[in-house]
């Protein structure tokens, strides 16, 4: 049954090829292959739930010589989240691109992005991670450039050069690891790695490369323009997933592989940067003039929260407290993934119906697009961290972990971030409910509004009420399966 781990990567890849050669039926092919890949991801998470983490040894070669794909609680849950967001965005995209030429250009690249996301979450090999990072970066940039205007191309070029730099710095770290340890396999490496000058520098380089990709303050400068100028379904995937999988690798390396090399100081440093990102990103979001730019800055802030968890996880002793912090981190990542993608898809609807996404001119949209504004409010609830959203629980545990670890200083940061988030969400709602005649027709239950609604409901209700099982699942089935 571990074949699902192959199918979840190969189905979108085949879909990409077929949609390219048979472009007239590209939408149908893309939707079908996404559904199949979503099913495969659910099979994977079910298998991890029933029998624990597992490996697929590509080519049947022994670990080290060959490449292995691995699934555990963290990667399989993120995989299902990623495939759900992608599926919703796929349905949305099939109505978003009205021009057949644009649609035909979009699908093969979109499916390539799915391949990269899934391959990256399941990869258990350092060099393979480099290749998937490049595939992810290039397909994300190509999709950003589909907007085909000056702002988007400038953003894409900046994204490309900074992204390439990030992967090269990561690769330099990989070269050092191979020099010292003679292996590229993550599980093997986690058994042999020791604190030494080589490990520290290699680890530092890989971390730096991934920090660029995950846009942690002050390396976030490329993100807002790219995420704001891409087509709406692409922005959803970029903000909700592409940035997050870089954080995922970082977490893997920090917690599962380079554990002996970690110093509390470096974790604290990243936590500090995360804290600055929370404040700075939220503040910029409050200043933003456009809906999508606001959402992009809010992503900078939300990524910051994830980094605040690092010093806590390092400081807490092994056991339930650490597991709780770890699960809360996952819960925050999941909630943000669903909420932010819902937000971007709704921004896309607004942009299509109003012809712009300027926040100050949103008057009347609440009357004309009630469902879309409802979705924005729902995802706002999740971004602020109000109950019953998943991030309410996440922030709750973040605060309690801070107090348990004796690092009370994160608490005011979290409070300030939440207040700022409340301010920027209500600023949008205030404008949306104000009178105005931005839109002349009223849309009720439009087909393009449904995907965003489902995502927002997942973020607020399902993750909030249904997250109980997550805690057991993660504490029982997490960790890298050995070779």
């Amino acid at each position: 049954m571990s074949d699902a781990i192959i199918w979840v990567i190969m189905i979108p890849l085949l879909g990409s090829l077929i949609s390219l050669t048979w472009s007239r039926y590209a939408s149908f092919i893309a939707i079908t292959s996404n559904m199949l890949a979503l099913a495969a991801s659910i099979i994977i998470v079910r298998q991890v739930y029933q029998s624990g983490p597992f490996i697929h040894q590509l080519g049947s070669w022994q670990t080290g010589l060959g490449i292995s794909l691995r699934a555990d609680a963290l990667s399989s849950i993120l995989l299902v989240m990623s495939m759900s967001v992608i599926s919703a965005a796929t349905f949305y995209a099939s109505t978003y691109f009205t021009d057949a030429v644009k649609r035909a250009r979009f699908w093969p690249l979109w499916l390539m992005l799915v391949v990269a996301l899934n391959a990256l979450l399941l990869s258990g090999d350092l060099f393979n991670l480099y290749v998937t990072l490049e595939l992810l970066g290039l397909s994300a940039i190509a999709l950003t450039a589909l907007s085909d205007n000056r702002a988007a191309l400038q953003a894409a070029i900046r994204y490309l050069s900074i992204g390439l730099l990030g992967s090269l710095v990561f690769l330099a770290g990989v070269a050092l690891v191979y020099t010292g340890y003679g292996t590229l396999d993550l599980a093997t490496l986690s058994n042999v790695v020791q604190a030494s000058p080589l490990s520290q520098v290699a680890f530092g380089l890989m971390t730096a490369g991934l920090l660029i990709k995950s846009a942690l303050f002050p390396l976030h400068f490329w993100l807002p323009s790219a995420h704001a100028s891409a087509p709406a379904p692409v922005s959803a995937a970029l903000s909700a997933l592409v940035v997050k999988v870089a954080v995922y690798i970082l977490l893997r390396l920090w917690i599962d592989v380079f554990d002996p090399v970690l110093t509390p100081f470096s974790a604290m440093l990243l936590g500090m940067l995360g804290a600055i990102a929370v404040i700075w990103g939220s503040w910029q979001a409050l200043q933003a003039q456009r809906l999508k730019l606001m959402a992009a800055y809010s992503t900078v802030a939300q990524i910051g929260y994830l980094f605040i968890f690092l010093p806590l996880i390092v400081a807490l002793p092994d056991g339930p407290l650490k597991d709780a912090a770890y699960t809360a981190l996952l819960l925050m990542a999941l909630t943000h993934g669903f909420a932010k993608s819902a937000f971007f898809l709704s921004a896309g609807v607004i942009q299509q119906y109003c012809g712009h996404d300027r926040i100050a001119e949103l008057g009347g949209t609440a009357r004309a697009l009630p469902l879309t504004i409802f979705v924005i409010a729902l995802s706002g609830v999740a971004l602020i961290g109000l109950p019953p959203s998943g991030s309410f629980l996440g922030k709750w545990h973040l605060i309690s972990s801070s107090l348990h670890a004796g690092q009370w200083w994160w608490v005011p940061v979290i409070a300030a971030g939440s207040i700022l988030a409340t301010a920027y969400v209500f600023r949008i709602l205030g404008h949306a409910f104000a009178p105005g005649e931005g839109v002349d027709q009223v849309l009720k239950w439009g087909r393009e509004e449904i995907p965003a609604l489902i995502l927002a409901l997942l973020a607020t209700l399902i993750l909030g009420f249904g997250s109980a099982g997550l805690w057991d699942f993660v504490s029982q089935h997490n960790g890298f399966p050995g070779g």
Binding site: L14, L17, Q57, V101, L109, P197, L198, V201, L205
Partner: protein
């Protein structure tokens, strides 16, 4: 004595390389920088050969210096400014300098430790012990198409993604107006030679330096040369076939991988008896795709008529579905 000579040779190579890299990055004229960059690529090919990596020497000469150089040279005229000047403030420059020097020292220290702490064998013994059942006797090909074939599959996906972007963004560059009889004369014997070399590299990759990437780049060089000498030659090409050529490398790769999963449980787990033939099939398809991709990348955009079929159906379809939509 011999060792001292080698050492002097090594030092000279390294100094020349660093000097070329430095001037490439600090010269003010783009044209010169690109030329120096190509020279650096050729020097790297020599260095790969010196370090006993002949597969790489070939690849660097054809792809790293050759195709990259051709791409960069043809792109220079797309940009209005030929100057390379940094706009950073003196303070910023100072900080960047300090940062890179510190990083160099740290990395050198780390590599020093790394070479000492390693057994010096790393994965090479594992490769050697399994080489006999890999289906090929060139260890680099064995790693690329068997032990780490999955990397190579994703790498082909990277190539496809890049070339799709090129095709989406631009129309292909205008053809040369000038037709040179000299170039045509040269092309007539050079192209068959390149095609034969490409086929040879593909075949020989199983047991000697060579393989799909070198062969594909060589084939692309032949196509580019043909295009330069006979600018209108691509017009007769079937565009649907071109799409097929672009994807066939990955398609065959994935299908073989899945087929082997059906037979032997793991993706890309070749049956040892067929491994040699399967690798050759995959490499042949990959060569075609790589050659097509690199040629299209050189052309700089989509050939005329690339999206024609769509536009017809689009105008027909959009008139029905787009009614009443506010854009």
């Amino acid at each position: 004595m011999i060792e001292i000579l080698w050492f002097i040779f090594d030092i000279m190579l390294v100094l020349l390389l660093l000097a070329l890299a430095w001037t490439t990055c600090s010269t003010q004229d783009v044209m010169r920088a690109v030329t120096l960059f190509i020279a650096m690529g050729l020097l790297l090919a020599v260095i790969w050969a010196r370090l006993k990596a002949p597969d790489l020497a070939l690849a660097e000469a054809v792809i790293g210096a050759g195709i990259s150089g051709a791409l960069l040279l043809s792109a220079i005229k797309d940009y209005p400014s030929n100057l390379m000047v940094s706009h950073r403030s003196p303070v910023m420059r100072g900080m960047i300098n300090i940062f890179t020097i510190a990083l160099t020292i740290l990395m050198s220290w780390a590599v020093w430790h790394g070479i000492e702490m390693s057994d010096g064998k790393r994965l090479s013994e594992q490769v050697a012990s399994q080489l006999s059942i890999s289906g090929v006797s060139n260890p680099v090909t064995a790693v690329l198409l068997n032990f780490r074939a999955y990397d190579t599959l994703l790498e082909l996906a990277v190539v496809l993604t890049a070339v799709l972007t090129v095709l989406i963004l631009n129309e292909k560059r205008a053809d040369h107006k000038v037709i040179s009889p000299l170039l045509q004369g040269m092309t007539r014997w050079l192209v068959p030679l390149l095609v034969i070399t490409s086929g040879y590299l593909l075949w020989v990759g199983a047991h000697a330096p060579g393989g799909a990437f070198q062969a594909g780049a060589m084939l692309a060089a032949a196509m580019i040369l043909l295009q330069l000498a006979y600018p209108s030659i691509h017009q007769g090409f079937n565009l649907y076939l071109l799409r097929l050529l672009l994807v066939i490398g990955i398609l065959i790769f994935v299908l073989v991988g899945l087929w082997m999963m059906l037979l032997n449980d793991d993706f890309l787990a070749y049956s040892p008896a067929w491994a040699g033939s399967l690798i050759l099939i995959i490499e042949t398809a990959a060569t075609l795709s790589i050659a097509t991709a690199l040629t299209l990348a050189y052309l700089g955009g989509r050939p005329t008529g690339w999206e024609n079929g769509l536009k017809k159906s689009a105008s027909h379809k959009d008139s029905h579905t787009d009614n009443g939509r506010v854009k």
